[in-house]
Symmetry: C2
Amino acid sequence: MSTQAPHNTLLIPGPIEFDDAVLQSMAHYAESHVAPGFVKVFGETLTLTRKLFQSTSPSAQPFLIAGSGTLGWDLVSANLVEKGENALVLNTGYFGDSFGQCLQTYGANVTQLRTPVGERHSLEQVEQALREKKYKVLTITHVDTSTGVLGDIKGVTQLVRRVSPDTLVVVDGVCSVGSEEIKFDEWDLDVVVTASQKAIGCPPGLSIVYTSGRAINVAQTRQSPPGAYYASIANWLPIMQNYENNKPSYFATPPTQLIHALHTTLSQITARPISERFDIHTQVSNKVKAAVAELGLKQVASNPDAQAHGMTAMYLPEGLTPPDVLPGLLKRGVIFAAGLHKEIATKYIRFGHMGVSVTDPGRNDVDKALAALKEALSEAKQAKGL
Amino acid sequence: MSTQAPHNTLLIPGPIEFDDAVLQSMAHYAESHVAPGFVKVFGETLTLTRKLFQSTSPSAQPFLIAGSGTLGWDLVSANLVEKGENALVLNTGYFGDSFGQCLQTYGANVTQLRTPVGERHSLEQVEQALREKKYKVLTITHVDTSTGVLGDIKGVTQLVRRVSPDTLVVVDGVCSVGSEEIKFDEWDLDVVVTASQKAIGCPPGLSIVYTSGRAINVAQTRQSPPGAYYASIANWLPIMQNYENNKPSYFATPPTQLIHALHTTLSQITARPISERFDIHTQVSNKVKAAVAELGLKQVASNPDAQAHGMTAMYLPEGLTPPDVLPGLLKRGVIFAAGLHKEIATKYIRFGHMGVSVTDPGRNDVDKALAALKEALSEAKQAKGL
């Protein structure tokens, strides 16, 4: 039995449902951020973050900073790109636009490589772009929260290493880390930017950034000083290194309760082989996608090879909009999200299936949601005479 | 009876001890950041923040953003100062140095006006500086966490309005908001930067920035674009306005559990006349300072008019350093902080007396701490043969 107050099941693409133990960690009593007890927890949390990324390289570096996922974009843009340098944004929707704006804020010269809604980039298209200009960084959204499109981060990185080996590969993994396989070292990634509240299963408020030695080196050898203070890698690097070496250190007060909660969820996640976690997400995703097809709904992510495993964005039947369907879901205790991609926002809804809703055998969230979706759709069609 | 696990009493100048109800709010079940329930809570929390600052001006604007207090410096530096403009930092210790570095990161031309350790600036000294150059902003630390020096924010603001009326007065209130009186509108302040984990009594992870209409106007009419993305006033302003008007809005996911906790503590704080809160902090501070004097200890903040009411920084007897005394306190269940100001760090300790440790009549934290201090000092002197 959950110790949480009764509530509707949150099945949006983040925040997601949280485990009881994680929420209990949020209520941890006050601690000094530089006292041995907390220093140990923070240090262990950094080490657990390495496991989440299947990374053992000593030159790789995790950063855990109070902030939302968006702060990670500033960390990238203010430290890894200098004024006038080129950035290539593989744009699959809403978040590519915003990451591009962030890069421009710090002086990058941004090229947006767009795809039609619901499609991901072909490697040919990316190769062509890489051959036209020298890019300091390439950014790719792993799972586009606005469309459910899964980016080919492994394939794109291989391509980059072949065509433009020094270009830093920056992955926006806010909606993928914890539900999609990422082999950080093996795939030779440079940065993954993520946040606590999606498939990692910790309440929102932590910006999580994982960096390669190559990226840290770029930050440390840049010509101009970093473009930000709070989002400066130079300010945070010694802090993270000290905490992981069990030494207190101070730049800005860490969010002690959130770090405890992250420690709890990462301990749970890494207690089993992480491949199992990705397998379960894939199985459940396949089930959801089959059920959605059976209801006659089309996914926004049109290519089966490019569909996320932690969420499903589905077009509604012609004549229905999100406000016709979401209240019917809510009446049945289930919360889905409305559309976000502005070109199609009124035509689709999003179902997040990540974390405990997928991995905890004691929950029935996904089956309940699929039953609710079927009923709510049929009710909405009837109401509209469709 | 507290519902918290038994723990040593945290009496450092932040984070502080938290109320049970506040910690329970941290464990709130998952909610969508754009669903009506959370939108209402966030909106109310913004309105409660106005009360905390005794502010009723409709042009004043609170910002509540996932981050530490330090993020507020970026908000000021990236939005209110343009490259090459002058900033005057009234430096009373550690935090003036850092705020100055943050301002420089975004291109400000920084003048540091320093005082000897433990002293605050005279108005004459500030007036002279203001007459030498035109400053876009002046920053003043309200309570210097490293020394316990209380800045004269009311007097300095009056002076600025007389001598250089357009200069924006920016208060670093991280260690003062909630324990020191601030009449934001009446004193004509422009920005107060603070954080959740000190006298406001909410766990760390929220950057809280309160701005005047004058400051917002400067941000909106600047010639160059803002210097940061996550710390951009232009990006957050519509979000805060929408939430306070009970409309969902999205720029980056807010830390939903921390917002609940802030709502709980601000509801508690504003349930009684806020002047009572400041009176209690003053009374307890007077008691602490008298007890410290009775133990023969000198305060770092040498001028009785310039001593904070939420903390006391005290020099140890000659021959003792913090590691001689802090373990004796810990043995008695009390946690104080070591020194932070680098010129004197080995010579003093800091005692935070803020929030529930001061306001909750059911607790005995301060008396317990004073008794422990007396015993720990005497033990340490004996051990050293002093």
